[in-house]
Symmetry: C2
Amino acid sequence: MADLRVGIAGLGTVGGGVLKLLDGNAELLGQRCGRKLVVSAVSARDHAKNRGVDLKSATWHANAATLAADPKVDVVVELIGGSDGAAKKLCEAAIAAGKHVVTANKALLAVHGAKLAAAAESKGVVLAFEAAVAGGIPIVKALREGLAANRVKRVYGILNGTCNYILTTMRESKREFADVLAEAQKLGYAELDPAMDVDGVDAAHKLALLAALAFGAEVDFKGVYVEGIRHVSAQDIDFAATLGYRIKLIGQARLTDNGLEQRVTPTMVPLDSPIAHTEGVFNAVVVEGDFVGTTLFQGRGAGAGPTASAVVADLIDIARGRSAAAFSVPAKDLKKYPAAPMSRHRGAYYIRLMVKDRPGVIADVTAALRDQRVSLESMLQRARSPEEAVPVVLVTHETEEAAMTRALATIAKLDTVTEPPRMIRIEQPEG
Amino acid sequence: MADLRVGIAGLGTVGGGVLKLLDGNAELLGQRCGRKLVVSAVSARDHAKNRGVDLKSATWHANAATLAADPKVDVVVELIGGSDGAAKKLCEAAIAAGKHVVTANKALLAVHGAKLAAAAESKGVVLAFEAAVAGGIPIVKALREGLAANRVKRVYGILNGTCNYILTTMRESKREFADVLAEAQKLGYAELDPAMDVDGVDAAHKLALLAALAFGAEVDFKGVYVEGIRHVSAQDIDFAATLGYRIKLIGQARLTDNGLEQRVTPTMVPLDSPIAHTEGVFNAVVVEGDFVGTTLFQGRGAGAGPTASAVVADLIDIARGRSAAAFSVPAKDLKKYPAAPMSRHRGAYYIRLMVKDRPGVIADVTAALRDQRVSLESMLQRARSPEEAVPVVLVTHETEEAAMTRALATIAKLDTVTEPPRMIRIEQPEG
């Protein structure tokens, strides 16, 4: 069978990993695909850089856009990044030229995924993006194929390794966010501009893709409610442990009566759930299906090797002639669900207040909760001090977020409450 | 597109689940496949039994074998079970008649997988068996496709839910094997004849399939070294916890210099590894690949719903026109590795001796180990008693099993050692 000719745009960390994999496992891949995967063209900023792999037989494109028109390219691998600009242009041009597209670009797909999928479909080419979500974990394939017999009830996971590393390190070393972030930046685990990671945007991109796959919906990144991890304190992590939880940045999507709820928030997950034990830079995704029950997929969510593994898995599918609709169902069948407002979210809540330790404080606080019909599961006040503010922790039963928000507004105004209340959502996995 | 017409042989628990899924999620499946999945024929022992699904439009076959010749069947789903007899005949006949085969039958594939795969290939039909390994976890697809870019270093997992339930319950309730097994039988978690499960045969069937997929090898069930869980005692489970481990029945395969090592054995896994937290009836599979690193897949390994989910995932692939070689590479390319003898296995070992508490005992034991160049990592003697035998636990550094076996033979003969030594292998996951 003829070689599958691959054009790669972007030869940074991931691109380098893809080159290394295609070179190092060439024989194995040839056997598994029944044909060779050949890098026939590349494009990158720096032509001269040594990438440890012989690229002499590949055509060099100074401009990534011209890759799309290269007659020696069957598949364009887009590793430029960014939701617009060169990456978007290249993918559009490649599809228009009848070439398959493999991309690791979650930002691009989160914003333009539905349009690109429709374009690929109308041209009869593959748009594949296993590497865009959870790195090396084959979760896109699992949702699109392996678990496709199920109506998905809920999909959630740890989708950002940087945040998980920071939260894990905060817990283990009992240090605060800013301190651990600075260290992670020094070690190269966090970007100098960490906003995309620690503010939850990267996780939200990935969640929007998972939700689209799981619920056969048009990608709706704007519909994702996002909170990052900057406000998580060492104190909250410590209280979580006392209460039997671990704090993770969780992206979660589920269909509710109010529409599609998509949220990325620091979340308390029970210590006895497997996802609580997904630590450091690892990612994990849990899928709850109506027949399969609860399944968990765990692995490295970033890095050259894992991402290359996912990119090349997509190339193998294409080489084998296997294709499926990008988001599991044909683009025209993708549903547009309204975004369920967070005010209608139902769940249990962890609340931490800093209060002056005076008689009547707890009575005032619990009255505010009662007035909103929020019922308490437990209350915890460990420290006592006549001078300083002390933490009081409350855990509620399931309630609606709007009620919780109103109660917290009242509580925040109490004279005895010295800081804005901290609120972290609690999530229970299914059995 | 024309309907995909499915003929199902065997309407027990799993068959009933498949019927229920195809009926309940029919609309969803039609959308995801672009065509309907229709049950056009069935065969089972009891025609009259009400299965909660309307089967009037399906042809009834009193003899499963005639399903293969039914012109209204595109795919035969074999859910009869057993490595030979009716199941084998049906699969062979269906392939010969040019029909795709989907089966949940691990015993059949473990013994006849290579031949059936070659036959399917020569007829250009699909032989799919996602449901044969780890129930609802899409691990066959992960190895054949999602992780196919990787050279697999090692694959291992908890492959039998009955054993995992028994070991979990023994640990939680501090009871012995026989007691917990009897309870599991009463609750329906274990068969009245539990041998296939507790002696590790079922796990060995599944491991042989995983190994074939991971290493592109002919299935070699006979090459699997098997130890069941009957000899695991509450005492060992307790010592494991003290040492930072949990005991699981682990099936593991890896390529070594001595050939393909496949083994199913009670194994100590570190408490901080995710697989240690796979409890009760859940299964988990870990794949270590050269690029992706360590990935873990967890879910329910048995039961009507999870197994149906896997069976129908295979049907969806067929309906979408997606096919791949049954064992990832063409049958003619499947390698025949020699079975690595367990005597050449290298690893750390847990040894528990029951000894008379006299001066010199430990010196005799450690001398026997030293004579075989087995070096000790730790030693533990908690109880002291002048009259009764007391347990002494030894943990070795990595050593060869042959040396360990020789040392244990010497130790067993010591006057002060009152029972045959117990040995459990220790396994460290990669980072």
